[in-house]
Amino acid sequence: MKATTVKSTIIVIVFLLFHNSIDAQVINWENISKQNMHLLHVDVGAEYGIIAGVGYHHLIPIKRFPLWIGGEFSVPSGSQLADDDFKVRLGAQIRIVALNHFQFSARLQGIARRYHNQSVRLFNFGSDLAGTVGYYRKNWFLGAESGFDKAIVTNFKHSEWYKKNIYDNVQDGWYEPATGGNFYYGLQGGFSMKKVDLTLKVGKVLQQDFKSQPLLPFYGQFGVNFRF
């Protein structure tokens, strides 16, 4: 990996870790208050596999542009949980427009994710940019979202098994420009109670050529938010 890439990666990590950007949490924008500025959430669903996640967000009550900052950690199912796949998202969601009960929000996330199997260990830095428009009431909400998940730079480290059985001259290291990208679009909604939101989102995933599909061409997530 070249020095500029290392530097860029460090900048992004430092930015994400210490300055609280970004996440993919489903939020009822009509039901936020300064009394409940913390949001803990758990979710299960399908997103490039069967996954389970947990996250935390903190409300920055900018007057007309409330901002949630925080992070989320998720792992896919499988027999190996230790030393295997995971995804960390750090970022922010901000409400940009509020017109009566219709609201538009944007989300920007930095992603760090890992993939491991018998052949290779991949580590990727990526980004996720999405927008959501929806109708929000105190007790329920329904919206549509669309976004783009980009795998910006990926490190490949192949196993001895791969080199012995598949390809002995495989090139390990950092690969760029971007190694992948997927568009997604779908619906999200939920019910809100005093301190708890029950949320659901479903949608479709398309590769960046708008023709090919990933092996699991849809996503879905059931989540519970606890506000305090």
Binding site: M1, V12, L108, I166, Y167, K211, P214
Partner: protein, 344 residues
């Protein structure tokens, strides 16, 4: 607060842009993640037949009985069959070739396969096999034995049904199915991975790290290879070639030919048993004890298409194990095959 947010956003955008300032290494660069094909590396052994450059090797006396090894897939390669080359030391002429778009053979766009229309299987695979045989055959009297495994066994069966007088012996190792519905059933059964399992997760989770367009062969082949090397359901544990392994390690899946073939199959519903009842010579039908998707009942059903046959159950190995496990090959499979050929 708003000002500091803008500053952070600018830093993030600048840092993302600066990724593009460093030296680029592409995932679709030839030789980076998957080995080069014969049209990219002229040092690889190859032949030009039927409009394609194929990765191919041959061992043994030039004029002796030809044994044509036909690999699985579609989209596999012949590397796992290389234990069979010891037959060359027993006096046979053993031919290996990677099918068009598979292994280290030349790649073609998906549109090319789809453009072959309703006669695609014939044009893509039977014509190619006929050309390979013609390339290596030194006389009209030279005998030809086909040895196919999995998809290769289906192809060998279809070819023998189409040209029954051109084939002197047929060895089929676990053809998934011969009629299209059986093929679909077998593929479903052999890939019925647990929803929560590691295998299925390994196949789906990678799609957020790498994406490839329809004809980006390097990317698609790499991803196909990552998920296709072992399969507990069919009992495959990875090839053990012993001293039969070549000096270089270069195995590569053919993702595009695999996807195109399956789509063509869905469109045309081919029947690989067509004409096989005209093939009167004895067929050696092999299946394995460790393939959970190939129980005795399935072997009985699929082998019923062959009128004259010897059925052999390979004990203690899986779908590819009868050929890719050197110990089993040496002690059991090679003697069985030689005995079969001598009985013809």
């Amino acid at each position: 607060m708003k000002r500091s947010f803008r500053i952070y956003l600018a830093i993030l955008i600048l840092s993302l842009i600066s990724f593009s300032c460093s030296k680029e290494r592409y995932i679709d660069g030839p030789g980076n993640l998957v080995p080069k094909t014969v049209d990219q590396d002229v040092t690889l052994p190859s032949i030009s037949v039927n409009g394609a450059r194929l990765h191919s090797e041959v061992f043994g006396p030039e004029d002796s009985t030809l044994i044509i090894c036909i690999h699985g897939g579609p989209g596999g390669d012949y590397r796992y069959m290389l234990n069979c080359k010891t037959l060359a030391t027993k006096g046979y002429r053993v031919v290996f070739y990677d099918q068009r778009g598979a292994g280290l053979s030349q790649r073609f766009p998906k549109s090319w396969y789809k453009s072959q229309g309703s006669d695609a299987i014939n044009k893509i695979f039977y014509d190619e096999l006929r050309s390979v045989i013609a390339h290596y055959k030194t006389s009209t009297s030279q005998k030809v034995i086909l040895l196919g495994q999995s998809w290769g066994a289906m192809l060998a069966t279809g070819y023998s049904g189409k040209y029954p007088t051109d084939v002197d012996g047929l060895i089929v190792a676990e053809p998934g199915g011969l009629k299209w519905d059986d093929v679909v059933d077998y593929v479903s059964e052999s890939r019925s991975f647990k929803l929560w399992g590691e295998t299925l997760n390994d196949a789906t989770y990678i799609d957020q790290f790498m994406t490839g367009k329809e004809d980006q062969h390097e990317i698609l082949d790499y991803k196909a290879g990552l998920i296709g090397s072992t399969n507990e359901i069919v009992g495959d544990v990875g090839a053990d070639l012993g001293n039969n392994a070549p000096s270089y390690v270069a195995s590569r899946s053919g993702a595009v030919v695999n996807a195109a073939s399956y789509e063509l199959g869905q469109d045309t519903k081919p029947d690989f048993s067509t004409g096989i009842n005209q093939f009167s010579k004895k067929v050696l039908f092999i299946y394995s004890s460790n393939n959970k998707a190939y129980p005795d009942s399935w072997a009985t059903k699929i082998s019923s298409a062959y009128t004259n046959k010897e059925i052999f159950k390979a004990q203690g190995v899986g779908h590819s194990g009868m050929l890719d496990q050197v110990n089993f090959w040496t002690t059991t499979m090679e003697p069985k095959i030689i005995s079969y050929i001598q009985s013809l």
